[in-house]
Amino acid sequence: MDKFTTHTGVGVPLRRSNVDTDQIIPAVYLKRVTRTGFEDGLFAAWRNDPAFVLNNEAYAGASVLVAGPDFGTGSSREHAVWALMDYGFRVVISSRFGDIFRGNSGKAGLLAAKVDEKVVQKLWDYLDDNPGAQITVDLESRTVRAGEGVDAIEDSFDIDDYTRWRLLEGLDDIGITLSHEDDIAAYEATRPSFKPVTQHA
């Protein structure tokens, strides 16, 4: 996984709440067995609509998505995170994320930045007034910034310490866990014999 320290990119206002992972990528796009190439499924149903925000050329090359509350609820499909990343997004900002989506983001290297609802509103208004404007997301200091002068927006975002550390370092979870292999083996030795197994000698 690539290290993530700070990112500056074009922000897109997605003025919708409850964007579940079926909206982010419908099930029909989940049939692939590869890890890349999911960008065509991103918001597939909405992208047919010329008025959909991602079809606005002003937001071409966008990499920071600013979404309404309860983004990424529903299905556990990590393809939702992959589709966002394959399209070019590095950051999603929302006031509330679905748990599994937020976890998947941390694993795959997409920054899910949780901010106050008022910050989402301010960013939406700013991006509407300045289409194509950039947003900076600094993971080191946990701040999100946009605009300049008196109207500049600067606020903090939430992310748990552990995910932040892993993103900053670009670490692979499995590697970290396998360094505790002794602990896992010791635990296994204590498991009760009545626990079920799927294979019998």
């Binding site: 003025r15 919708r16 709440s17 409850n18 579940d20 079926d22 909206q23 419908p26 099930a27 029909v28 989940l30 049939k31 692939r32 067995v33 590869t34 890890r35 149903a45 309404g68 509350p69 309860d70 609820t73 529903g74 299905s75 556990s76 499909r77 990590e78 393809h79 995170v81 509330r96 679905g98 748990d99 599994i100 976890g103 998947n104 694993k107 795959a108 748990d160 310490d161 552990y162 979870d173 499995i174 970290i176 866990t177 396998l178 505790h180 602990d183 896992i184 635990y187 296994e188 498991r191 009760p192 014999s193 009545f194 626990k195 079920p196 197994v197 799927t198 294979q199």
Partner: protein
């Protein structure tokens, strides 16, 4: 101080705990299906890793499989490749697989319990959000993403922050004709889709105790629909009776040891929850959704709400969008909403009791003209059992379609989909835009409402059928 059920099960599975880091949690059972596993197995191959505990892992084919012609090769080449990839991976990594055509094949969350692999006090994960189903047995069970699937395959553990605890206490008794599905839909309409976020929820109280295991699974299954990390119900005699003599249940002295331990898995009297919700079961009525998330529901006897009914600005906009998508007019009585397709099935309501309940209601009636009724058993074993009981005949005689086992119309991933604009009454768990097919319109309902709706062609409860006949 006492501990809650979830805290007890959590504590029993902590491999390693360090301040400032998530706990490293041991996983007792890892369920696999074809959609969320290929990239995980590929990851293992690229890193030259193996599956640490194939004996705690089991796979089946459910999301992609057709429910017609299931004895023939899968027609859609992309789906077929994904299913064949699972077969190759299972063989290469030594994972037990129940493929299409096998008597134990079916929806992964129906298969685990019917094999007796789902037991109290376990940690169970799967790359599927409805893994919460297994919490009905007093297990901590939750859905994970593909990166985590790979992590569990390689290490049999997961790094997890300890969630907060919530109690949902349901006092009293559910009225006749009102089911677990109505109860959970009612709860979600009160909490919204994010109300459970960050919590492991324990469902408790008299109404929960009175539920069968299969009804408890329906409740826990939909925990994810209000955002909860997991849902649990403390194991009791109902639980033990369900598990006993299942193929993978403990036997002999091991059974006694297991039950003795399972009996300790209850929330202590002096334990406290971070949050509590109390519901009165007597107030629950048949409940249906009108919108595009599971929280947008009303009693069947109510009407389609107006965006003006919502004070919150986001909810108002969401309601407007939902009504447009659903093609509904505010103020229309739900009972007047015409249904094109009724779907009975899924990991929420595709088990024996659901089929028996629906068969009982539809027996002697016929599916309404202009409506189709799809009956899809949750597993091959459920299908075989239903056929032994003659349920398939009741459905077929009534004009319903009797299908093979799988996820079917719950999600638009196999041939069972809605056409654009087609409206369903579905016993599944999600009414998201396009969930059952692009442009499809979904109303979530109980098996009781599904069967009655199939007969009348509009959203209905079994009580409406009695009126028709009289």
């Amino acid at each position: 101080m006492g501990r809650t059920l979830s805290e007890k099960v959590w504590d029993e599975h902590v491999v390693r705990s360090t301040a400032g880091e998530p706990d490293l949690l041991y996983i007792d059972l890892h369920l696999i299906h074809e959609v969320t596993s290929p990239q995980a197995f590929e990851g293992l191959r690229l890193s030259n890793r193996k599956v640490r505990r194939p004996d705690l892992t089991i796979a089946t084919e459910d999301h992609n499989v057709p429910t017609l012609d299931w004895d023939k090769p899968i027609a859609d080449p992309v789906s077929r490749t994904q299913v064949e990839t699972l077969r190759k991976n299972a063989e290469e990594f030594g994972v037990r697989l129940h493929p299409l055509g096998d008597a134990e094949q079916g929806i992964v969350h129906v298969v685990g319990p019917q094999l007796g692999l789902t037991q109290p006090g376990m940690t169970i994960v799967c790359g599927d959000s409805h893994t919460s189903t297994h919490g009905a047995f007093g297990a901590i069970a939750f859905g994970i993403g593909t990166s985590e699937v790979e992590h569990v395959l390689a290490t049999q553990t997961l790094m997890q922050d300890k969630p907060k605890t919530m109690a949902v206490t349901v006092n009293g008794t559910l009225p006749d004709g009102v089911s677990a599905k109505d109860l959970i839909l009612t709860l979600i309409s009160k909490t919204g889709t994010g109300g459970g976020q960050g919590y492991i929820v324990e469902y408790r109280g008299e109404a929960i105790r009175e539920l069968s295991m299969e009804a408890r699974m329906t409740i826990c299954n939909m925990s994810i629909e209000w955002g909860a990390k997991a849902g649990m119900i403390a194991p009791d005699e109902t639980t033990f009776a369900y598990i006993k003599d299942k193929p993978e249940a403990p036997k002999g002295a091991e059974w006694d040891r297991a039950v003795a331990h399972w009996k300790s898995l209850v929330t202590d009297e002096d334990a406290t929850f971070d949050k509590e919700i109390v519901l009165d079961a007597a107030e629950v009525t048949p409940f249906v959704t009108w919108g595009t998330n599971p929280g947008q529901g009303v009693p069947l006897g109510a009407s389609v709400p107006s965006p003006d009914d919502f004070e919150d600005a986001d909810e108002k906009i969401a309601a407007e969008k939902a009504l447009t998508y659903m093609g509904l007019e505010a103020g229309t009585p739900m009972r007047e909403v015409h249904i094109d397709t009724v779907f009975l099935g899924s990991c929420t309501n595709g088990r024996m009791e659901d089929l028996r309940t629906a068969a009982d209601i539809i027996q002697g009636h016929h599916v309404a003209e202009g409506t189709r009724f799809l009956v899809v058993p949750g597993s091959a074993k459920v299908r075989l059992q239903a056929e032994e009981e003659g349920l398939h005949k009741i459905f077929i005689d009534a004009g319903a379609e009797w299908r093979g086992a799988g996820c079917s119309m719950c999600l638009g991933m196999n041939p069972d989909t809605l056409a654009p604009g087609e409206r369903s009454a579905s016993t599944s768990n999600r009414n998201f835009e396009g969930r059952q097919g692009k442009g499809g319109r979904t109303h979530l309902v109980s098996p009781e409402v599904a069967a009655a709706t199939a007969v009348r062609g509009t959203l209905s409860s079994p009580a409406d059928l009695t009126l028709v006949e009289a």
